[in-house]
Point group: C2
Chain length 343, copies 2
DNA sequence: CTGAAAGCGCTTACAG
DNA sequence: CTGAAAGCGCTTACAG
């Protein structure tokens, strides 16, 4: 009795033998890479079917030097933002039979560089990077460029410009959020941002722009910051603010998670949403879970993933022409729910 | 001037030449697969460093017939449950330098089988499958077994038994949730489940067991079902229930998302949580976002991922002994927050 | 203790 | 229009 091997053993040779043709012909019918007569095509197909043959992509990758795999590096797949981008990338890549492997850094530089090594050893075709807040992103980027691996960046730091990247137009998004509030009659709007966050700084910029545009002067004391993107920090900060005599009728929270903390403090203070206080969030991650449902600026993560994949694929197809890197801005979209009043 | 190739070209041969040794020796120092004198090790290491050499894992995979890659098949990475399991798998696999590729099915059988083909062609070392609710899971499982690929199942249908699997002990979890409510003095507890869901049916079973155990008879009219795992469906169902004259003091929601809908309907009905109505959720996904914060049964997704990876790795190391498949049950954990009263 | 050589399963010029 | 053969970059018996 023949001993069972642990894995597959049907190879292109077996198919060729079974079909009575050369391996070159089998390869040609699988890849449609050159003309093969109908008769032979038929024989090959029958043999493939009979033997239950699955072409070995590893061998193909070695020969062609193209693994048809891209790496997506993120802080953590548990973050809904990255999960959304991931789906966008995977759906786009699936259409051209590319695989995508995920690498979580947990914001650790050590992990980031370890992953890059693995990625290189696996000879990926390209890398998509969301290395938010990692101190050494720039160093990582130069390394990847030095290694000559096509790269697209999603959510990059703003002061990078020699690489393709795609990012959220935080300024415009925040402008629109604030503009909306102002149009509804709100004049004193609290900006609730996060310390030491580039994203939050840009959203603050958009907030200010809206006032300028509408010809309304705004009160610097209405700009508040919490320590981190967390519900608890936002809750505490707002508690504090409600204890003070600061007056406002609306809150522009720089993230949904911040908005949730703020909503709790607001209700805790005996105020009603939206009757007493209107509130708008950003990201549109948890917005439909709150009570009342949170109006928020939706960030199109899925689309960003698709676009990033698109750009990368274009680079892979046309590796030779060193086009100047592009920076694509993606616009957040106002999604109205129940937390705003006015107009 | 030398033309730049697009990708890497430093190979083991280059290193061997640079170091003045054979490729076998280079291979040996990289893989520590046989003794090499200190002198040669040193030479090789220097050469690797000088040439900036990254071993080609694709070539290695072809030669050794082990790709060190596993596939994880899920409905959708956007679902926090799967994201959690994914991290568990990746963290475990990373320790042994395995890659994990993700495949989203969106509950589509067509996608499921297409992915399996891709996975086979990529010669993955093993598969972890969370093919929840897919009609043809069993067929997919037989296919994978026929192809002789090591397989571990997470979140499987219950009527499968010839394969390693790991699943949530829904009965015990629901028992504990209900038991807790009863111990706090609740006697009339509404079970809010989901139609046509195996998971929900098991949670209902646990709910009933708790009453039996405590020697309390329960009212069949307290068992309600909503159409799907959605906030809106739960909200509507509860609205309806509050319009009826059904009396209860607590709700056991079979999922956090169901609990959120129920909470909204409860507050809408002018009732207070937990003063008038206590409520407990399941999954512990969105539980800390609600107001008041939802007490919930935490499902250890991350740990499940780690365990699944562990089992798979064991199978990969010891492929020959066909141990009987194991079924590991994982216990949900009671996490108290603010939505319960009593005791 | 180390090296020369075969071979993993493909693709792709090259020849006819 | 199709086949024989080289070679992608490794690992691993085999020999010495």
């Amino acid at each position: 009795m023949e001993k069972k091997k642990r894995q597959f053993h049907v190879t292109i040779k077996d198919v060729a033998r079974e079909a009575g043709v050369s391996v070159a012909t089998v390869s040609a019918v699988i890849n449609k890479s050159r003309y093969v007569s109908d008769e032979l095509v038929d024989k090959v197909l029958k043999a493939i079917n009979k033997l239950d043959y699955y072409p070995n992509r590893v061998a193909r990758g070695l020969k062609t030097q193209r693994t048809h795999t891209v790496a997506y590096i993120i802080p953590d797949i548990n973050n809904l933002i990255f999960a959304g981008v991931t789906r966008g990338i995977q759906d786009r890549m699936e259409k051209v039979s590319y695989n995508v492997s995920l690498y979580n850094t947990d914001f650790s530089d050590k992990k980031l560089f370890r992953h890059i090594t693995t990625i290189v050893e696996n000879r990926v075709s390209g890398i998509i990077l969301s290395a938010w807040h990692s101190a050494k992103v720039k160093e990582a980027i130069s390394l990847i460029k030095k290694l000559n691996i096509p790269l697209v960046i999603v959510h990059s730091p703003r002061d990078i410009d020699d690489v393709d990247r795609i990012l959220v137009d935080d300024v415009k998004g925040a402008f629109e959020a604030t503009y909306n509030l102002i149009k509804r009659g709100h004049k004193r709007i609290l900006s609730l941002g996060v310390e030491n966050s580039t994203t939050s700084r840009l959203r603050e910029e958009g907030y200010k722009k809206a006032f300028t545009k509408m010809g309304i002067s705004f009160d610097e004391s209405l700009i508040a910051h919490v320590k981190s993107f967390s519900q608890e920090d936002a809750f505490c900060k707002m508690k504090e603010i409600y204890k003070s005599d600061l007056h406002f009728t609306a809150i522009f929270a720089h993230a949904d998670i911040i908005a949730i903390g703020a909503m709790k403090a607001t209700l805790d203070a005996g105020l009603k949403i939206p009757e007493d206080i209107s509130i708008i969030g950003f990201d549109d991650t948890y917005a439909s879970l709150t009570l009342p449902k949170l109006t928020s600026m939706h960030v199109p993560n899925y689309e960003m993933g698709k676009i990033a994949a698109d750009i990368l694929l274009k680079r892979l197809d046309l590796p030779l022409l060193p086009k100047s890197p592009k920076c694509k801005l993606v616009l957040p979209r106002f999604v109205e729910r129940e937390s705003l009043i006015g107009k």
